[in-house]
Structures are given as structure tokens and as C-alpha cells.
């Protein structure tokens, strides 16, 4: 750290801590020490303070000890000559800065509850999103875990013009990075510049307008800190592990744009503790020796057109940018972008017209690789705001191609199309729904580009399982109708086949260690009747994934000798688990919540928990934010059992798994399920009914309590007794 930076950081820290102290005294007088404080809908209190200091700030009174720690951490000013070493004190001051800013933001939430909007999107009159709640954390966190998003850029200040801001944001989006924005320079803010440039901001496009002030930087750092606790399974207060985890696994960096104030320096000193380097567009002093960060700490005076590539290099990040021949930007960050209302140039499907997607295998000589045909009108042939029927048929051929891979390739169509800027995709199979924006049409995007995208990406991502692919895009009604019929027959056959697979008749299961980038001791084991807890991987997906990448995170595991058929334990699986968990676990049971349940990484769709009084279990999906009968909200549950732990009484699972035959079969099966949120019940209703019939209780779905019945065991027990829930007559669960 240069002396200038250290001096400025310590000055800035002093100002911010003093501001927090003043603010604290003010609100303490007004509200008293027992006033509750915190960020909305989170189990992590004020996450930086929780993670680093291990202090749970629940009410105003709790802030006192944090402020005292800030003061202790605040070093004396750096002398001009014969100065004492300043790097360590400045880093400490930076840390204290972030604590103080987190308090400032918490006080803002108390004083102005509507200062920030709730949810993922800005509203008409408010673009400031504030702290990410735990739903956003988990939903978005998974992208960090599986690599869809390698990290984030924290942008402070503003670019010289909205155009430059838009270009930098787009470049970051193309590298799949999240963009977390705060602070003001020259009366402008980066988020506001993006809005001015007509860019859609919000979590869905990864352009996150946290807040107008520099103190909103804590929302970015809080996100990173929570990632370590929730996905890394690191205990609050284990600051060293949390910081190193971020240095090694969360590829974030700070981009101060514009004049770097003392307060900015203080924040920069803070984020360096996490191993996040600072790349500035102004000529501030540089700190090049490595150590706290993986490479340089502060790099400066970078021209705007090199800013992103320099930042990525300094952070030591390898980004695979998709080379897709389309006239618009392409990347995961554009997946959440919406096309609606006046913006729509062309719409296909969505109930207005028929749209269908179908992947099918052909003989090698029937397929000409890269051939793209549009049969019927394309974008250029129609008026703005038109609708067309649509069928996207991908015909694949290759020696390694198997029929089982067809649905896997077909399922990619959704996000691959969505990644194109200005093209929106919803649904799948025969309920697909596509929109193309006017802006995209303006840039030259056509329906034929769907073919270009699928050809390029199929080869990039799945090149090992097929050799050739050609794409036919139909927009003529009779053709679309004909193909829809053919496709539906195939869908039915596929469903029957996967439904028919059982664990007993399958000798090879698959592992999934995709999440080990974030939860190093977590191992998912996936059998036909126990899909991955994230909901993204079933047995077939894993099989294909292995074929595609034989050394990747999905490995075949010969299940071997059956050690316990009821609980679901196999010798071969145990051996694999021991090795893959890096000796943290030597066994688990596939079908039990009570006895050595499978580990959970933190990105599970649902968490089941035992309800002893009801002699059953409940499950809750991560979208449900209210209290549950086990006494914990989803987020607390996830925080408790995530991070690669096996916790008897709790298990993470996918939504789909609830109606699979082996769902907690070792503890009595679905008959144990006494409570789930209404929204989840409705989502699973069709399959719940079917499963009820299978177990001989056709009205089983009506016996499961939800929040309309109650949210405590005491409240739901009378209901269960009234409806004669089967769990009450089963053997004691504990």
C-alpha cells in the first residue's frame, strides 16, 4: 500500500466511523436500544459484522460493541516522515469502515424503510435495490457456485458518459460477471447512467444498483461474506477462513470510476482484505506487490476500453467468452433481460401462437453440419409487433449420440436463446415462448440466428456427444402443427422411460461435485430416484455430462454391494464419498433424513426437517420466506445445514424429488410429509395427486398442512388428526 493510499484510507475510515457514531447516538435517543434493526429477510443479520466479528446485530443496542471495535481498529494517522508501517493498520481501518457502513445502512433501513425497493428489480421511481435478501443470495449464489457467474465487479462512482458506462457494463455482462454499483462521482452514478443509456438494470441482467452512496458497497461485501458462510459452510466469526474463501473462490474486484475520495480509499482498503483488487481509471498510486490479493492490489490509470480486461487479468480470472455469431451481445448476464410491451418486434408462442422445440437424432448422412433453414417468414418479412407460430427442430447425428441425450440437448435451447441480448425465451417443449426486441432487430437479429446460436453452443458445450447438427426453423402454421404432434409423441415416450427407471435396477449412479468450488466437502450422489438437490441434475443429465466431460464433476459410481436397501446405502458409493469429500464423510444414506442424510451444499431447492410432535417431516422451498413449523425460516435452515454438512433431522432435496418413490423412503416415505408451503404444494399438485394414488391415499395432497393451517407444530397437529394423516399412525420417527 502506498503511504498516500494508507493515509487517505485511515482518514476516510475516521470520517465514516465518526458518521456512524453520530448516527447511532441520534437513533439511540429516538428509538432506544431495544429497537430491532437489520436488513430485510436474511438470516445473516448484518452479514459482514456477523461473518468477520461473529456479532449478531439484532437491535440498536448491539451496535455499541461494533462501534467500539471500530474505534479499537482505527489506527493513528500516518506520519509524513519516518512513518510506522501502514499496510496492516490501513487494512484494519478498511475493515472498520465496512463495519461502520453496515451500521449506517442498517440505520437507514430503520429510518427510511422504503429507501430501497424489495426484490430483484428497480421500480419506476426507485432504482436502489439495497441489501440482497436470502432468496436472491441463494438464487444468484448458485450461479457463483456452478460457475455461470465467476464473480462480480463492484463499481464506485460514474463513467465519463452514459455511453462509456453502457459499454463497460456490457463488457462485464459478456464475461458473465455481476456488476454491483454504488457511490457518486461528479453528481452522476453508474446505475443512473445505465438507465439513461436505456439499459435494463436489476438482478436479472446482473446490473445491480445497490445504492446511491459509497456505503452501499457493504451490500456487495455482505453478499460475498454470506457466500462463504452459506455455500462454504464457514462459521460466523471465522474471519480468516471467510476472507481466504473469497480470495480463492469469489472472483470479485473493485472499479472506482472517477475521483477517489478518502472514503473510497477506506472502502478499497476494506475490500482488499477479501482479496479483491482495485482497478482505477484515475492516476492514483499503485500497489503492485502481491500477497493479500492473488496478484496486484491496486492498479490505476487504466483507459476505459481496457478497464474490464485489465481487471479480469489482475484478479486472475479465466473467462470463457462464448464466440457466437450473432449481431447482439451474448452471455449469461442477458438471460434475465426482458422484452415486453412496446419493445416487442416479434412474438412466438405464449398461448397466442403455437411454439415448440424438439431435438431428434438422425443418421450421419442425413445431417449437414451447420445447415440452418428458416421455413416460412423471418424477422425481415414481417411488421413490428407481429406474431408467428414457431418450431425449432435440431437434428443431431454422431457416433456417440444416444437417444437419452436428446432431451438434454433440447433443454439447453431455453438458456442458449435467452443469452442473446434482445431475445427472450420462456418455457420448453410445446409451451415455448419467444420474443425478439426492436433493438435486437435493429442490430440485425433474425430467427435464423437461433440456428447460429444452437449450432455454435451445442458444439462448444456438447461437442463430445455428437458430430453434426442442423437446425430447421419453421414459421408456417401447418408445418408447426405437424411437428408439434410428432414432438408430443416423443415427449410421452421419454417421460415413460425415465419414470420407469428404478434405483434397484440401476447399477451405476453418478456423483456431482460441481458445487465443490464453493463447498469443498459436499458430494451429491444422484440415482434415478433421487435427483440432485439443486433440481438441475437428474441421473440422465449426469450421464450425459459425464459423456461430454469424462473428467468433469459428474462421475459414474458403481454402487456395489448393498449395505442397507431400506435407507439406501451402498459400499461403492461410500468409498466414493470418502474420497470425494476429502475424507470429511465416509458414508450417507440416500433415503433417510434421520440417519446419516446426504450432505447439502446450500443451493438445494427445498429443505426437509423433522417435526417430532407430528411424527413426520415438513419441507420448505427457498422462495418461501416466512416462518415454518420447525421454528426456522428457509434461510436459517440453509445456513444451518449447508456447506457440505450431513445433519440428522434435516436434508436438502429438489422439488421433483418430493414425488419420487424413494423420497425419504428409509423413514417411511412421503407419508411422513405433514407440512409444506402452499405455493410449493400448488406447483407440485399434479404429481402429488398421482403419487397419492400410488400409495393408496388419493386425497393425500389434501392431508398436507400449509401456512393457511398454521406455522407451528401445535397449530397443525389438530388438522393432521382431523384429516387422519398417515404419519400419526407410523412408528416414532425419532
Amino acid at each position: 500500500m502506498s503511504k498516500l493510499i494508507a493515509s487517505a484510507a485511515i482518514r476516510g475510515a475516521n470520517k465514516i466511523i465518526t458518521r456512524a457514531e453520530t448516527k447511532y447516538k441520534e437513533v439511540l435517543d429516538k428509538y432506544g436500544p431495544d429497537q430491532e434493526v437489520g436488513f430485510p429477510n436474511t438470516g445473516y443479520y448484518l452479514p459482514i459484522i456477523l461473518g468477520i466479528l461473529g456479532i449478531q446485530v439484532k437491535n440498536l443496542g448491539d451496535m455499541k460493541q461494533v462501534l467500539e471495535r471500530c474505534r479499537v481498529l482505527l489506527p493513528p494517522m500516518v506520519k509524513e516522515k519516518n512513518a510506522l508501517p501502514y499496510l496492516a493498520p490501513a487494512l484494519d481501518a478498511g475493515m472498520a469502515t465496512l463495519f461502520a457502513e453496515e451500521l449506517i445502512e442498517a440505520i437507514r433501513y430503520l429510518e427510511e424503510p422504503n429507501f430501497y425497493v424489495r426484490g430483484e428489480d428497480p421500480t419506476e421511481d426507485n432504482i436502489w435495490l439495497g441489501a440482497a435478501d436470502d432468496i436472491i443470495l441463494r438464487k444468484r449464489g448458485i450461479e457463483f457456485v456452478d460457475g455461470t457467474a465467476p464473480g462480480f465487479a463492484a463499481i464506485l462512482g460514474s463513467a465519463p458518459s452514459p455511453e462509456i458506462a453502457a459499454r463497460i457494463a456490457q463488457e462485464l455482462q459478456e464475461k458473465n460477471l455481476y456488476v454491483f454499483m454504488c457511490a457518486e462521482h461528479n453528481g452522476k452514478r453508474f446505475s443512473e447512467q445505465l438507465v439513461e443509456a436505456g439499459i435494463q438494470i436489476g438482478w436479472p441482467t446482473r446490473l445491480v444498483s445497490f445504492g446511491p452512496d459509497v456505503s452501499a458497497a457493504v451490500f456487495a461485501m455482505g453478499f460475498a461474506t454470506r457466500a462463504a458462510m452459506s455455500f462454504g459452510g464457514i462459521e460466523p466469526g471465522d474471519f480468516r477462513k471467510i476472507l481466504i474463501y473469497n480470495k480463492d473462490r469469489v472472483f470479485a474486484f473493485a472499479l472506482p470510476m472517477g475521483y477517489v475520495t478518502d472514503e473510497w480509499y477506506a472502502n478499497a482498503a476494506g475490500v482488499i482484505n477479501w482479496g479483491f483488487p482495485v482497478i482505477a481509471d484515475t492516476p492514483i498510486p499503485e500497489v503492485l506487490p502481491t500477497g493479500i490479493c492473488t496478484y496486484e492490489h491496486v492498479v490505476s490509470n487504466i483507459p476505459h476500453d481496457q478497464l474490464v480486461s485489465k481487471a479480469v487479468e489482475v484478479r486472475g480470472l479465466k473467462v470463457a467468452v462464448a464466440a457466437v455469431p450473432v449481431p447482439v451481445s451474448y452471455g449469461a448476464a442477458f438471460e434475465g433481460e426482458r422484452v415486453r410491451g412496446e419493445d416487442i418486434y416479434l412474438e412466438c408462442g405464449g398461448g397466442k401462437t403455437q411454439a415448440v422445440e424438439w431435438t431428434t437424432t438422425k443418421d450421419m448422412n442425413e445431417v449437414e453440419d451447420g445447415k440452418i433453414e428458416v421455413i416460412g417468414p423471418d424477422v425481415d418479412d414481417i411488421e413490428p409487433g407481429s406474431r408467428l407460430p414457431l418450431a425449432i427442430v435440431t437434428e443431431v447425428a454422431g457416433r456417440a449420440m444416444q437417444e437419452d441425450f436428446e432431451p438434454i440437448l433440447e433443454r439447453q435451447i431455453h438458456h442458449l436463446i435467452n443469452y442473446a441480448q434482445g431475445m427472450m425465451h420462456i418455457g420448453q417443449r410445446d409451451i415455448a415462448w419467444i420474443r425478439i426486441s426492436k433493438a435486437a432487430k435493429e442490430k440485425g437479429l433474425k430467427l435464423s440466428h437461433i440456428g447460429s446460436i444452437l449450432h455454435a453452443k451445442f458444439h462448444q458445450d456438447f461437442g463430445t456427444i455428437f458430430d453434426k447438427v442442423q437446425i430447421k426453423i419453421y414459421t408456417e402454421e401447418d408445418k408447426v402443427k405437424e411437428i408439434t404432434e410428432k414432438a408430443r409423441a416423443v415427449y410421452r415416450a421419454r417421460d415413460a422411460r425415465i419414470e420407469g427407471m428404478t434405483d434397484e435396477t440401476t447399477e451405476t449412479y453418478y456423483s456431482c461435485t460441481l458445487c465443490q468450488s464453493f463447498a469443498p466437502s459436499h458430494v451429491c450422489m444422484i440415482s434415478p430416484e433421487r435427483t440432485g438437490l439443486c433440481g438441475a441434475y437428474n441421473w440422465m443429465d449426469c450421464k450425459a455430462s459425464y459423456e461430454i466431460n469424462p473428467t468433469g464433476p459428474n462421475q459414474p459410481v458403481e454402487k456395489g454391494e448393498t449395505l442397507d436397501s431400506k435407507l439406501g446405502q451402498w459400499k461403492g458409493c461410500n468409498e466414493f464419498i470418502f474420497k470425494a469429500s476429502r475424507q470429511k464423510h465416509d458414508h450417507f444414506n440416500f433415503y433417510s433424513i434421520m440417519d446419516a442424510p446426504m450432505t447439502t451444499c446450500g443451493c438445494c431447492e427445498c429443505i426437509a426437517a423433522v417435526l417430532p410432535t407430528c411424527n413426520g417431516i415438513m419441507t420448505v422451498n427457498r422462495e418461501y420466506i416466512e416462518m415454518t413449523p420447525c421454528g426456522m425460516k428457509f434461510t436459517t435452515l440453509a445456513g444451518t445445514i449447508g456447506g457440505g454438512l450431513s445433519t440428522p433431522g434435516f436434508v436438502g432435496h429438489s422439488k421433483y424429488n418430493v414425488c419420487q418413490r424413494k423420497f425419504i423412503a428409509g423413514d417411511g416415505g412421503i407419508q411422513r410429509l405433514v407440512w409444506m408451503p402452499k405455493m410449493l404444494k400448488e406447483e407440485l399438485m399434479e404429481r402429488l395427486k398421482k403419487r397419492g394414488e400410488e400409495i393408496g391415499i388419493p386425497n393425500f395432497h389434501e392431508m398436507i398442512a400449509d401456512e393457511t393451517v398454521g406455522s407451528t407444530e401445535e397449530e397443525i397437529l389438530p388438522f393432521l388428526e382431523k384429516v387422519g394423516h398417515p404419519a400419526l399412525k407410523m412408528d416414532p420417527i425419532m
Binding site: M1, S2, K3, A6, I52, L73, V78, K79, K81, N82, A83, L84, P85, Y86, L87, A88, P89, A90, L91, D92, M95, D146, G147, P150, F239, R240, L243, I244, D248, R249, F251, N273, V287, L288, P289, T290, G291, I292, Y295, H297, E313, G316, L317, K318, V319, A320, T513, L514, Q516, S517, P520, S521, G552, P553, R582, K584, G644
Partner: protein, 648 residues
């Protein structure tokens, strides 16, 4: 004395030497002239006076069989003499350590007022290293256990010293394999005295194995106990600003110089000097206050912990008195020139001895008693204050020279400085060694020697090293030499250091030369080296590190003990000035070559400081090559698969 010969690079020396002459007193350089040239047999280690058949001497120039009357060969005589130097040096450091342990235990038991536990963290660390239960026990009880265990290390008869386990595992294996893991501190000293007695151990390699074992009992035993327990009692040094050189003496204050090696009394003298009653008395006597300044390693101890100014190093002790401005020169043990008594007589200065182990004829003796330490200190300060009116103003010459410095780099503090409270680690140091910004690490330590130009060799070696991006850790009189020319300031990085080292110094805000304390504190360098090994990426033993040690102006037997424990810990160590084994080819071969095979560290001798620095740099480069870090590395960019490979 030869007027042409330059005495020192320190500007305080010439005017004060002249003043001494004018005032009619002799100094070290005058006596040097009387003692020149030195006896060639003694100098080369070939003089044996161990029995009454002798003294014998081996003439290296004589043809044919060359043996002592008893038949002792050149290498046996040299090895015996060298081993005895190690024993003496070990005894000096360790007796210091024992004294500290005794005071520590008495303090822990609450038997002596004034001493307390200042560093609990270090207390727990030492307790863990000693295998003492911590639990929820009272710190006092833990301290009692530590005191007892520490004292028992001196008289231990079997097993191994407890601190050996701090060393890298590979290093411990080497010691065990060679059978040189020390059993007890006193035992190893006694065994050298036995084995070097007439007619006992007469194999130079075998003698030097015991020499190594004894030296290790110093570095990983007596000295380490001294450092660790002093830190617990007086506080682990942290970076602090200080000043050095005779200019720190004050014209209008009572000047008291504390000189020697132990902080036990000087800590109390610092306290007593702040006693309001004594300050008032000083004012009554016409002084504006009481000024404490240190000399030699006592000075380093109180400088590192309190920022008390340094008056100077070994060769300046007589000069301090010559200023005519020193009311009392208070000495404890080691490196005290007997001539101080004579020089003091020429002025009003009172020479006060305080240890029953170190009396000087003609000095006033006020004995240090740890049970009444503060009162003894008050008595000493009072004596000085009362002497103030006797200062002859016309006889005062205080040089202007004094320099700023930043000191206080314990190995624990370095750990903090490299990453702050939350990311403290040696990793940034290792990283920058690996990436080549820092070429290597050198420990440059040791004494002054009147036979070389005062401070000159230290400064030449150190400047050459830092110019070549080698960061320097320093202690003792070498450290003071650096302080006097500004090498211990952060600004020195820009003026003297190579670009790479300077960039790291700038980033951390440290000088290119780090002052780590007194000469017993060389153990801090051992611990820093161990911390670097344990951080990873630079091999698994101290001998793998791109590091070297040197004592360019050594003179005491303590320096030989230190040098041998560095060599036996795997460090390439170069001594300057002269070296007492040069008379035996076999001993030269053992120390300069064979040790590299067995101990993985070796000695070298090089009186030319520039060549000395080059030898160290060559060694560092050799180690860099062996580690495969001699070439620039490509930047690794991480993708998700690589992140999954990371250990949890």
C-alpha cells in the same frame, strides 16, 4: 596510533577521539595500536594452552609432522578452541536466559513487585509449545508452570529441549539423525568443557557435532527462553519510532546510559526515570529532566519496547563517557569494556555496576535485586541525578548526530504487518520472494570490532544486499549501525533498495532493513525463517530458503555460538574480520564444505564486505534455482474447474 587509518564511518567518532586525547584519556583504538599485530597462532586458532605441558602452537608454515606435545593435531586444537568459544557464547546467552526465567517465575508467583504479564497471547503460545494445559486456568498459574519448565530446560539431563519442536519438521529430523538435538542447556556447555579438556575428544568432526548441539542449546534454548519470557513480561515489540546516536544525549538533562544486555533492571530504570519525585529532584539540581539512553543490547531491549533512544553501539561506549554529559553509566553484563572505569575517572561520570556477576574495579556497585527492583532502580537514578551538579559544562561535547528510525520487528509483528489483523500471514513475504520482487532474506547481525573500520563493513554488506533486493533482518550492534545512517527508516527503501524490494517496502510501509532486537533476539530470526518455511512455497526446511546470514564485524564468543546455531539450523553464514579456524585445513573443509552435506548449512569467511554480500547473493540465487523460482512465472488465471480443485 596511526592517524591515517580511518576509525569509523560514524561522524561522532573523530571529534570525540580528539576530545579524549585532549582530556588525557585512552580509548579502544589507542589500545588496539598496542595490541597490533595480533598473535598469528591465536588468530588462526592454533594456540593450545589447555594443559601445562604447553602452551603449544602449530606452525602452519613448518614442513613435516605438526602436533602439540600431547599429539593433538591442528584440527583438534582448532576444533577445541572453536567449541570452547561456542560454549562460552552459549553460556553467556543462556545465563542471561536463566536470569530472566528466575525473575519470570518469581514474578508469576507474585514474589517480586513491579513485574507483570504484558503479553498474554505470547504466554499462551509458549504454554502450548511447552505442553502446558491452558483450559480456563488463571494466567498466573500458567505463568508459574512456564517459569518452572523454562528453568528446568537448563538442568535437563535427557530428552530434547522443548523449543526444538518449533523448528520445521525436516530440520528436527536432521538434528535427530545427526544426534545433535540438545538435551539440556547446561549439560551441553559442560560437555564441551569436558570434551575439550586435555586428552578427551580428539576428532574434529565429533567435537563439532557437540559444538553444534551446544550452539542449538543456545539458539533454540537459552536465547529463545530469554526472548520469549522477556516478551511475555515486558511486551512483544511492535513497530515504534526511535532515535539513535550520541546526539540523543541532552545538554540540559540528567543523562543516564544503560549498557549491557539485560532488560530486567533497565526496564525498571525507565520506570524510575519517570518517578515524579526524582524528576523534581533533577529540577532542583538544575536539570530539565532525566534522559535515559541505551548502549549495546540493553539499549535494543528498551528501544524495541519503549522507544528509549540509543546512544550507540559497542565501540561508542567510551565515547559516550567522553561527551562529558553522562551522569551515570549503568552496566549489567556482557560487552562492557573495563576501560570504562578509567575513562569515567576523567569526567564526572559514575560507572555503576549492578550484577554480582560483572563487577569492574573502580566502579560503584549497586546490586540489582529483583525483589526490590524498582527501589534499586530509583537509587541508581537518584545517584545519577545527584551527580548532575558535578558535570563540568566546559568539558561537555555532545555531537549533533542522531537519526530517526522505525524499530520493533518481532516475528509475530511481521506476521501482522503483512496482512493486518484479519489476514495476518507470512504469505505476502513468500509470494514476493517467489515472484522475485524480493530476491531473498539475509540476517546481518553481530558486534563491532576495533580491527575493522567501525560500522563500515556492516553498512557495505547491508547496502549491497538491499540494492540487490535482499531484505535484511538485523539485531545487536549491526542494527545500530544501520540506524545511525538512516537505513532503518521507510524512506531508506527508495534511497538504497532495489526496485523490487522497494516496491514491497513501500506497500507494507517498512524499512528495507528490519531491526529485530538484541543479540539474544536472533532467535526471532530463527522463528521468522521457520514461519516462512511453514507458510509454504519455499521448500520444507530453513536450508531450502533463499536466505543467508552474516556477522561482518563480529568479535565476541557469543557471535560464534550464534553463527554455529544458524549453520546448524541450515543457514549459510559468513563471518568477516577474522576467523579462528583458518589454521586448520581440515577444520576449514568441515566448516566451509562438509557441513553443507550434514547440517545443510555452512560457514564462510570473507573479510571484504562487498565480496561477502556477493557470496550471500550467490547462495540466495542458488537456492532460488533449486526451488525453481529463478525464472519469471506466468500469471495463472483460474477457471471454475481449478477452483474446485482447491482444498477446503
Amino acid at each position: 596510533m596511526a592517524k591515517k587509518k580511518k576509525l569509523s564511518v560514524d561522524k561522532t567518532v573523530t571529534p570525540l577521539v580528539k576530545k579524549a586525547k585532549d582530556d588525557g584519556t585512552n580509548l579502544v583504538w589507542d589500545r588496539l595500536e598496542d595490541q597490533s599485530p595480533p598473535c598469528g597462532f591465536g588468530k588462526s586458532g592454533l594456540c593450545c594452552r589447555l594443559c601445562a605441558m604447553g602452551p603449544c602452537r602449530i606452525n602452519p608454515l613448518k614442513e613435516g609432522e605438526k602436533k602439540g606435545i600431547c599429539g593433538a593435531t591442528a584440527e583438534t586444537i582448532v576444533a577445541r578452541n572453536f567449541s570452547r568459544m561456542i560454549a562460552s557464547g552459549t553460556a553467556a546467552h543462556s545465563d542471561h536466559g536463566r536470569g530472566v526465567a528466575e525473575v519470570f517465575l518469581a514474578a508469576a508467583k507474585g514474589e517480586i513487585p513491579g513485574y507483570e504479564i504484558k503479553d498474554e497471547k505470547k504466554l499462551y503460545q509458549v504454554a502450548m509449545d511447552f505442553g502446558i494445559e491452558i483450559g480456563d486456568r488463571d494466567t498466573k498459574d500458567i505463568a508459574v508452570d512456564i517459569g518452572e519448565k523454562a528453568l528446568a530446560e537448563f538442568s535437563r539431563q535427557e530428552g530434547e529441549l522443548l523449543f526444538l519442536k518449533r523448528a520445521p519438521l525436516k530440520r528436527q529430523e536432521i538434528w535427530r539423525k545427526l544426534g545433535i538435538a540438545p538435551r539440556g542447556i547446561d549439560r551441553e556447555v559442560v560437555e564441551i568443557m569436558h570434551r575439550t579438556h586435555m586428552g578427551v575428544d580428539q576428532d574434529h568432526r565429533n567435537l563439532m557435532l557437540q559444538g553444534s548441539r551446544c550452539a542449538l542449546a543456545d539458539g533454540w534454548g537459552g536465547s529463545m527462553i530469554a526472548t520469549e519470557l522477556q516478551d511475555i513480561m515486558f511486551g512483544n515489540p511492535r513497530p515504534i519510532a526511535g532515535q539513535v546516536n550520541l546526539g540523543v544525549l541532552k545538554e540540559d538533562e540528567v543523562n543516564i546510559i544503560v549498557h549491557g544486555h539485560e532488560p530486567l533492571l533497565s526496564e525498571m530504570i525507565v520506570l524510575a526515570s519517570r518517578d515524579l519525585e526524582l524528576v523534581k529532584l533533577a529540577k532542583e539540581k538544575g536539570a530539565k529532566g532525566i534522559n535515559i539512553a541505551g548502549m549495546c543490547c540493553t539499549a535494543n531491549e528498551i528501544l524495541m519496547r519503549h522507544g528509549v533512544p540509543l546512544a550507540g553501539n559497542f565501540l561508542q561506549q567510551e565515547l559516550a563517557v567522553t561527551t562529558g554529559a553522562v551522569e551515570a553509566m549503568v552496566v549489567d553484563v556482557q560487552c562492557l569494556m573495563q576501560s570504562l572505569a578509567d575513562v569515567a575517572k576523567c569526567y564526572h561520570t559514575k560507572l555503576i555496576t549492578t550484577s554480582y556477576k560483572a563487577k569492574v574495579t573502580g566502579a560503584e556497585h549497586i546490586e540489582f535485586d529483583e525483589h526490590d527492583a524498582l527501589n534499586v532502580a530509583r537509587k541508581i537514578v537518584r545517584t545519577a541525578v545527584e551527580n548532575y551538579p558535578n558535570r563540568g559544562k566546559e568539558k561537555v561535547l555532545i555531537p549533533d548526530e542522531k537519526n530517526d528510525m522505525v524499530v520493533g520487528f518481532s516475528h509475530e509483528t511481521i506476521n501482522y504487518l503483512l496482512g493486518g489483523l484479519f489476514r495476518a500471514a507470512y504469505k505476502p513475504l513468500n509470494d514476493n520472494i517467489i515472484n522475485g520482487r524480493i530476491r531473498g532474506v539475509a540476517g546481518v547481525v553481530g558486534c563491532n570490532n576495533a580491527r575493522t573500520v567501525h560500522d563500515s563493513n556492516h553498512l557495505t554488506v547491508i547496502k549491497e544486499l538491499i540494492k540487490n533486493d535482499v531484505i535484511v533482518l538485523t539485531t545487536g550492534c549491526a542494527a545500530m549501525a544501520c540506524g545511525k545512517v538512516g537505513l532503518l527508516t521507510p524512506e531508506a527503501a527508495f534511497e538504497y533498495a532495489g526496485e523490487g524490494l522497494a516496491s514491497v517496502c513501500e506497500a507494507v510501509g517498512i524499512p528495507p532493513v528490519l531491526h529485530m532486537g538484541s543479540c539474544v533476539d536472533n532467535t526471532r530470526i530463527l522463528m521468522a525463517a521457520t514461519a516462512v518455511v511453514k507458510e509454504g512455497g519455499l521448500g520444507d526446511d530453513i536450508s531450502d530458503l533463499p536466505a543467508a546470514g552474516a556477522a561482518p564485524e563480529w568479535m565476541s564468543e557469543k557471535a560464534i555460538a550464534i553463527g554455529q546455531y544458524f549453520v546448524a539450523s541450515g543457514v549459510f553464514t559468513v563471518f568477516g574480520t577474522t576467523f579462528p579456524v583458518l589454521g586448520s585445513e581440515k577444520m576449514r573443509k568441515l566448516l566451509f564444505e562438509e557441513f553443507e552435506e550434514t547440517l545443510k548449512g555452512k560457514w564462510a569467511f570473507e573479510p571484504d564486505p562487498e565480496k561477502m554480500a556477493q557470496m550471500m547473493i550467490e547462495h540466495i540465487d542458488k537456492k532460488r534455482k533449486e526451488l525453481g523460482i529463478d525464472k519469471a512465472r506466468e500469471r495463472v488465471l483460474y477457471d471454475m474447474a481449478m477452483r474446485r480443485e482447491l482444498e477446503g
